[in-house]
Symmetry: C2
């Protein structure tokens, strides 16, 4: 007989305790093999003076069980309270946000009757590091970072998820026609990972066209894997147009720890009235069961829930006199699901999930330890120059070109100047608007591609400082295996 | 009597000449006051050896007339041909891309029968500078730049457009809850500009929620102004869900020069058959007429076109046996519009535009010279530290902390280390995944906020070089008017 899997459960605030009770009741009746540790998070913890809303001891439980089923919480009004989700995500490196966006036509109103899309969003990189600098009077900068191991992890997760959940296709969106180095890396790694999953179809779209297709004909998509920013925007678009925001669960997956929840909030005004819909949390729990290898139980719960939805037994939020038959409360809805355990939906599509051989080999965790953060490939890295960025507002591009050429020397020479990515010296156009934020590219005196040293770069900065330039930043230029690892300005 | 306005016209490739002829015929019959200069662009120019597809002499015409009505062109297969639109945009600083996305229910099929949204996309900044660097074995970087003058121009254009086109509301989307400095600047400047237009309603949404609402209930939006990346994605989403990609025109607006076109391509297979739909280019020409202050003529053309569409006189691409009455060719469609000049639509909403007092005071150009690129505000800028980024893969965050502390000296000291935006030293979490891309923050020895000099920063680099560190970049830390102009890592 299969062993129980330990999980950590938090009952949360507002409607949290009611929907968690309903969810756990259904899981138990369905035969889920769970050992539950309960922790306290949320409002009372915040108000007791813990700015993260979760006690250090609770982290120990998460480290022990590695699986967190979380009800919604209430963050108190006023400053100084940190987002609990951000804290958990950052602490445990939850790199994947997974959100199924499904329409339940004709039982829930939607403009897109055929839609069953899962958004897999990279959750740690891109512009969400929030690494920002105001550099001049006029110009601010945010760093977008895309890493190979971060991209490998999210792409591999998307394909593993597709396999465990009986999905047939994974689509990737990037803007690699413009961002050839960062989004280009994401696309390249996606292709590499996809090659290891010949049983799963794969495709790539430029994000603008892909987003247009996703929002117009979502029926053509299955699993979609995205860098953080595109995923943020398009997971909200997909959930909204499916019409099922109140019924959706989501997962946040890390290499060792994963968290499952509803996407809605704690709705304090509905608390304690036995009216809340437990479906979002229940579908989060279904994802959890698949993750821990209990796909058989997950399918049993999910199909009974679908059968309940289509028999017209609805909580108030979904109730619609045209499509519903019986308006019920939280507990009665849970009983309705329990009474249908073992049934399949008749109109909606039934689900099936793969079951793992043990308690921890589901959609997310089995591959995490096996080379996901790939051993670095051996590459040859050669410094070939530096971009010296200046805050300067004393004239034209040609004026600056003349002034900066005076910094040449010690094996470095100025090759070009750009402003906001457009080359303005030598040979710029007079119509180009120039901000006070200039990029001066220095390369080896022998020409582009010749080696330069870090000491030469430090020397250039010393000369720039002595000449009174306000250099605001530098970016070194490297070749990797002989190929430039930097972009050229547009002419 | 009003003077004629000189414009530059290019007839383009494929269906271009036919739809341009139809468009110019309608404009003439409507009484547009134009002096036309014709230039050649596109396939023949490319194949004659001009890699930009436009001859230097043609630029002179654009500089003279400042208004460009452009038919679609064909870029030859094979490498080395530069995008003509990118060349024109970069050369003349066309900072605004304007795309009306309108549904014409019940005459053109759409899931969103009530939709009349104009996307105003910033077109020069954000991640589209394509300023990218591969910095380590694992990590790539793209710079996102948002400037105050760039943001002022686009926001002001959006409100001027709203006024000239009889629009009531301008909505802004940003992600300033995460990107407080860059997107925060965009939002702040939007609010500042909005205050100067009390006759126009304004609102701001976080881009994820805003995108979800736009794609689900576009009827709630009017003019939407967006930073470049969000605008790229959401202008395609909006055009697609309106169902009218083949009927849409767009404008690219600069401080001195503006370009108007259809959003579709040159469709070579349809060329020379008198079947193509001239509507996209015609609606581009309508935007041009408003821009040059001939709003009366623009409305006359646009309303006659709407009346034609709803009378069921349709070209093949729109023809649908349920909604159409007569399938016509390009010339016949143009005649059908001409014969309805002076008529208003009966079911669709009629348009009205403001007319300028002279030939150049329409939606885009009148304000361009009057302080758009605002004189820099006086701010006090103080260097207070530097982020030294290292490529390093020799141990843990604590190991690196010990090694880097050896660079302290000459008035600088290490304050913290972060990896991908998460603080990892001192006091990090063991679960945080660390790439080979580290940010070491140095501040003045007297503590955060104390002044440091550029010479001190150059000295730090010299010590790092001598110690054998591969520093990959630096970002200086500045206070502006005493407030930090840089973000702190998440703990």
């Amino acid at each position: 007989m299969a062993q129980n899997t330990p999980i950590t459960v938090a009952h949360g605030d507002g409607i949290g305790p009611e929907i968690m009770e309903a969810t756990l009741h259904i899981l138990k009746e369905a035969g889920a093999r769970l050992d539950i540790e309960t922790i306290e998070i949320g409002e009372r913890v915040y108000l007791a003076g813990n700015s993260a809303g979760i006690e250090p001891g609770a982290f120990d439980s998460l480290r022990r069980t590695k699986v967190f089923l979380k009800a919604p919480i209430t963050t108190p009004q006023g400053g100084g309270y940190k987002s609990l989700n951000v804290t958990v995500r950052k602490t445990f490196g939850l790199y994947a946000n997974v959100r199924p966006c499904v329409s339940y036509h004709p039982f829930v109103r939607t403009k897109h009757p055929v839609m069953d899309v899962v958004i897999v969003r990279e959750n740690e990189e891109d512009v969400y590091g929030g690494i920002e600098y105001r550099q001049t009077n006029q110009v601010t900068q945010c760093l977008k970072l895309i890493s190979r191991p971060g991209t490998e992890k999210i792409c591999r997760y998307a394909f593993e998820y597709a396999r465990a959940n009986g999905r047939r296709k994974v689509t990737c969106f990037t803007k690699d026609n413009i961002m050839k180095i960062t989004d280009g890396l994401f696309h390249k790694v996606f292709d590499e990972v996809a090659a290891g999953y010949p049983d799963i179809e794969n495709e790539h779209w430029i994000v603008d066209i892909g987003a247009a297709k996703l929002s117009d004909t979502p029926e053509n998509f299955d699993v979609v894997v995205l860098p953080n920013l595109y995923g943020d925007v398009l997971s909200d678009v997909a959930a909204q147009i499916a019409g099922s925001v109140g019924l959706a669960g989501s997962a946040n997956i890390g290499e060792t720890i994963a968290m499952f929840e509803a996407i809605h909030g704690s709705a304090p005004r509905r608390a304690g009235q036995n009216v809340a819909n437990p479906s979002g949390l229940l579908l989060g729990a279904v994802m959890m069961l698949v993750h821990i290898g209990q796909g058989d139980i997950a399918a049993r719960v999910h199909n009974a829930w679908l059968r309940t939805l289509e028999s017209g037994v609805h909580t108030y939020d979904v109730f619609d006199s045209a499509a519903s038959k019986e308006k019920v409360g939280t507990r009665e809805f849970a009983e309705a699901v329990v009474s249908r355990l073992g049934q399949q939906p008749e109109l909606l599509k039934a689900v099936s999930y793969k079951s793992g051989g043990d308690g921890g080999s589901g959609g997310g965790s089995s591959f995490a330890g096996s080379g996901t953060a790939a051993a670095p490939q051996q590459v040859t890295k050669q410094a070939v120059g530096v971009d010296l960025y200046l805050d300067w507002a004393q004239g034209t591009a040609n004026d600056l070109g003349a002034a900066v050429a005076g910094l040449d020397g010690d094996g470095l020479k100025l090759s070009s100047i750009a402003n906001r990515g457009v080359k303005v010296f030598p040979g710029g156009h007079t119509e180009t608007f120039c901000s006070d934020h200039w990029r001066c590219r220095f390369v080896g005196a022998a020409g582009e591609g010749a080696s330069v040293t870090h000491a030469q770069i430090a020397g250039l900065l010393a000369r720039a400082a002595a000449a009174g330039f306000d250099y605001i930043k530098i970016e070194n230029l490297y070749n990797f295996d002989g190929q430039p690892g930097y972009s050229h300005a547009k002419e």
